[in-house]
């Protein structure tokens, strides 16, 4: 019996995960003063489903906690229990605990029964006494780490201020927004000309509140590529294993290659037959393109599945930092590759934390500077041509040019006297670079930004910073639409072709003999007053080059997150998008190579890994004169 049951476990885990997400979103979006009965019902139903499922499968820890939660929610929807901010906090914490328990079951780990009992106690306390002492109960018992000092009353006082609508914000016109803020700080910029609602219109509203809080509040199940209205995800969606989709993606990639091989052959056929063949081949080309697009779109998920976690994060961080922050989310329905979404979470979280911690000032500082009391953090995603741009903007203090430069000089990574701003900002991506005056537990250890940049570059993306002192800063991440394809420059060495990711290429030059020098046998190239190490691709790849000396070939200047160097190749073949294939699947990792791709003629070309090529340079830093 238990064997038969266990086959349903993965489905249960998936569903419960979704219920928990839904629970969290609904709780965040709940209007405390006048809770929407439909919302309360949905919350109750989500908890009820979790309880039911976990009871059937014998996951007692889950069932026990959700049972009390369900009782509480049942009373709330019947109006016997009025929800308050601390109560919602407790429920949110409970949701987190449930997530942890779920993970324990999923990974067959030991259940933290102490935490289960604690959560039950807190919830029971709430059932018995929905009074004032809740805040202390909730925060300190459940998550001691978030409230190290008994300041919970202070931080809740922060919310209490908002409970009096308009008391502080008389200058702002629309109260409707502030109800949203009070609930989850998913507030919008109070700007009548913002036109957010126009953008929103095509989005089906799950509930009035959720819609007002941007598509981000839509549950994940409904926000999939199939945009269906209504509460139930119903029969309009189909759960498919990612491996199956990946197989489809692979096959469609093959189809494109086969098609281009056919086109090459077809071009050689002449006469009437050739003409008929040509038109059939054209048809084939169009169809294969469409097949590939359609298959790729299956892997696409809305960015909102990443953005969804931020209202919660911002809310708790803002409370912890005693700052007032409104989070504005735009373009949550922009779709990007599923694999990319998972790997975007960490860098985005880091940037959001950074903006909150270092960017946005405290309410008092802001008032002194004549800014609106609460800072705005804008999280925006949009598609621009073949790439996705995600930007994180705050209207805080901006990056501190002087402090960055001082720190950079201290670390010896900058030499120019007054570099341009564009050259200053990227310095914060250097390893071990933190300008925070003091290290907090939120950020400031200086381990993060270089990791952020590396993560983004590993996705084939690029990160840029715009900042203005006193006005705010924007981190702009540019990403390719999909992970499976990279923009590359094809370079030839001997008879072999290699692909260099375009993100790493600065420029290509044809060096004159005067530009080439050696330093203890390491070749150097002098480009615009700077000596850079020069690597020879033919040497690295053990190929006999067509051009024996670098001044007959072409030098490609490559910039990685840490180094700049020149790479000597025989010729540039051309720029093209290539599909990345794993070399490790059937073979092994190869030094200096990140993968392989199949060219139009069916042959294999290796994709070079600029980072690991850089390790081949003996003298890693460019020498400047």
């Amino acid at each position: 019996m238990s064997v038969e049951m266990s086959q349903f476990h993965p489905v249960f885990f998936e569903e419960t995960q979704e219920h928990l997400q839904l629970l969290e979103q609904l709780l965040m979006g709940l209007d405390i003063a006048q809770p929407d009965s439909e919302d309360l019902n949905s919350i109750f139903r989500a908890a009820h489903s979790i309880k039911g499922g976990s009871g059937i499968f014998g996951f007692t820890a889950l069932a026990d906690v959700t049972h009390i939660m369900e009782n509480l929610l049942d009373k709330a929807r019947k109006g016997e229990f009025s929800l308050s901010i601390p109560a919602v906090d407790i429920l949110l914490n409970t949701t987190d605990t449930l997530g942890e328990i779920l993970n324990s079951y999923r990974n067959e780990l030991e259940i933290d029964w102490l935490k289960v009992t604690q959560t039950q106690t807190v919830l029971n306390g709430l059932l018995v006494d929905p009074g004032e002492n809740l805040s202390a109960l909730g925060e300190s018992d459940l998550e001691p780490s978030t409230a190290p000092e008994p300041q919970t009353t202070d931080s809740f006082g922060f919310f209490a201020e908002n409970k009096v609508p308009g008391a502080e914000h008389r200058d702002l016109s629309d109260f409707g927004f502030f109800t949203a803020e009070r609930n989850g700080q998913i507030a919008q910029t109070i700007d009548p000309g913002f036109g957010l609602f126009d953008e929103l219109e095509p989005e089906p509203s799950l509930s009035k509140k959720a819609a007002a809080a941007e598509p981000i509040a839509l549950p994940k199940t409904d926000a999939g590529p199939v945009k269906k209205a209504g509460n139930s995800s119903g029969e309009s969606t189909l759960r498919v294993e990612t491996t199956k989709i990946d197989a489809l993606v692979n096959l469609s990639g093959e189809l494109v290659i086969t098609q281009s091989m056919l086109a090459l052959i077809g071009a050689e056929v002449s006469g009437e037959l050739g003409e008929r063949l040509q038109s059939a081949l054209l048809e084939l080309e169009r169809n294969t393109c469409e097949v590939q697009d359609a298959v790729m779109s299956v892997r696409m998920l809305p960015v909102s599945s990443v953005f969804n976690r931020f209202p919660r994060l911002v809310r708790s961080l803002a409370a912890k930092l005693k700052k007032k922050v409104e989070l504005v989310v735009e373009g949550g329905s922009t779709e990007i590759d599923k694999g990319m979404i998972e790997r975007l979470v960490d860098p985005l979280t880091h940037l959001v934390r950074n903006s909150l911690d270092h960017g946005i000032e405290t309410a008092q500082q802001r008032l002194d500077l004549g800014k609106a009391e609460s800072g705005t953090l804008l999280l925006k995603a949009e598609q621009k041509g073949g790439s996705i741009v995600i930007s994180i903007s705050d209207d805080g203090a901006g990056l501190n040019r002087e402090r960055i430069l001082a720190k950079a000089r201290e670390n010896g990574i900058v030499s120019a006297h007054s570099p341009a701003d564009e050259d200053v900002w990227p310095l914060i991506f250097s390893p071990g670079f933190s300008t925070a005056a003091e290290v907090t537990d939120i950020s400031g250890r200086g381990v993060g930004m270089d990791v952020v940049r590396r993560n983004i570059e590993a996705l084939g993306g690029h990160i840029a910073i715009e900042s203005k002192a006193g006005v705010g800063s924007t981190f702009r991440i540019q990403l390719p639409l999909t992970l499976a394809i990279v923009d590359g420059m094809c370079v030839a060495v001997g008879e072999q072709v290699f692909v260099l990711p375009l993100v790493h290429i600065v420029e290509s030059i044809q060096p004159s003999p005067e530009q080439l020098k050696t330093l203890s046998n390491q070749q150097l190239i002098k480009v615009r007053g700077e000596y850079l190490p020069l690597l020879n691709l033919s040497q690295l790849m053990a190929i006999k080059p067509t051009n024996p000396s670098p001044d007959q070939g072409i030098v490609v200047l490559i910039e990685t997150s840490k180094h700049r160097f020149g790479l000597c190749v025989d010729a540039l073949v051309g720029q093209q998008q290539v599909v990345i294939k794993s070399l490790e699947r059937h073979y092994r990792r190869v030094n200096g190579v990140s993968g392989a791709t199949i060219m139009g003629d069916g042959s294999v070309a290796l994709i070079l890994d600029a980072e690991s090529l850089a390790l081949q340079v003996k003298h890693l830093d460019g020498v400047t004169i």
Binding site: H586, Y587, V590
Partner: protein, 168 residues
């Protein structure tokens, strides 16, 4: 994608096993036919830098990037020449595809467990680990290669060290 199951489970049932015999130089070899995915002619490969000489490179097998190993070079038998008669046997072992270059493919032979004789103690030239045994068919000695062990071995260097460790 078709996957041919790997052979290791069929050893003990006493029934006949089928082997694909092939020629390296003047010697006859055979390997478990269940690990054979397909047989094709030799095509140009993309060279891999700093790989052992017997790893010729990689090629595109319907979208998979597959390494090609020349067994003649690995076992130091015959001349490693490449012409239109050179054969590549595509093997699928532990869900990994590897192509091996041989001089020719001869036959499919059925052998029962009794017909497979234990190998003698060999010198250094052929490692016992890669040998299933010896068999005689039509007065010719056929060397049965334990292809799974060979493909997975560190010597061939076809896999990353951590990947090999998991298979032993």
């Amino acid at each position: 994608m078709t996957k041919i199951e790997s052979s290791s489970s069929t050893h003990s049932n006493g029934a006949e096993e089928e082997f694909l015999s092939f020629v390296l130089g003047d010697e006859n070899y055979a390997l478990d036919i269940m690990s054979v995915k397909e047989i094709r002619g030799y095509e140009a490969v993309t060279k891999i830098a700093n790989a052992p000489v017997f790893v010729k490179g990689v090629l595109n097998l319907r979208g998979d990037i597959v390494p090609i190993v020349d067994l003649r070079m690995k076992f130091d038998i015959g001349q490693a020449t490449y012409d239109e008669f050179t054969i590549v046997i595509m093997l699928c072992v532990n869900e990994r595809i590897v192509g091996v270059v041989v001089d020719a493919v001869s036959d499919v032979v059925k052998l029962s467990a009794q017909e497979i004789l234990p190998p003698p103690e060999f010198g250094v030239s052929f490692d016992n680990r890669f040998l299933r045994g010896l068999a005689t068919v039509d007065n010719k000695m056929i060397i049965l290669v334990n292809i799974a062990a060979l493909i997975g071995s560190d010597e061939l260097g076809l896999m990353d060290v951590n990947a090999t460790a998991g298979q032993e």
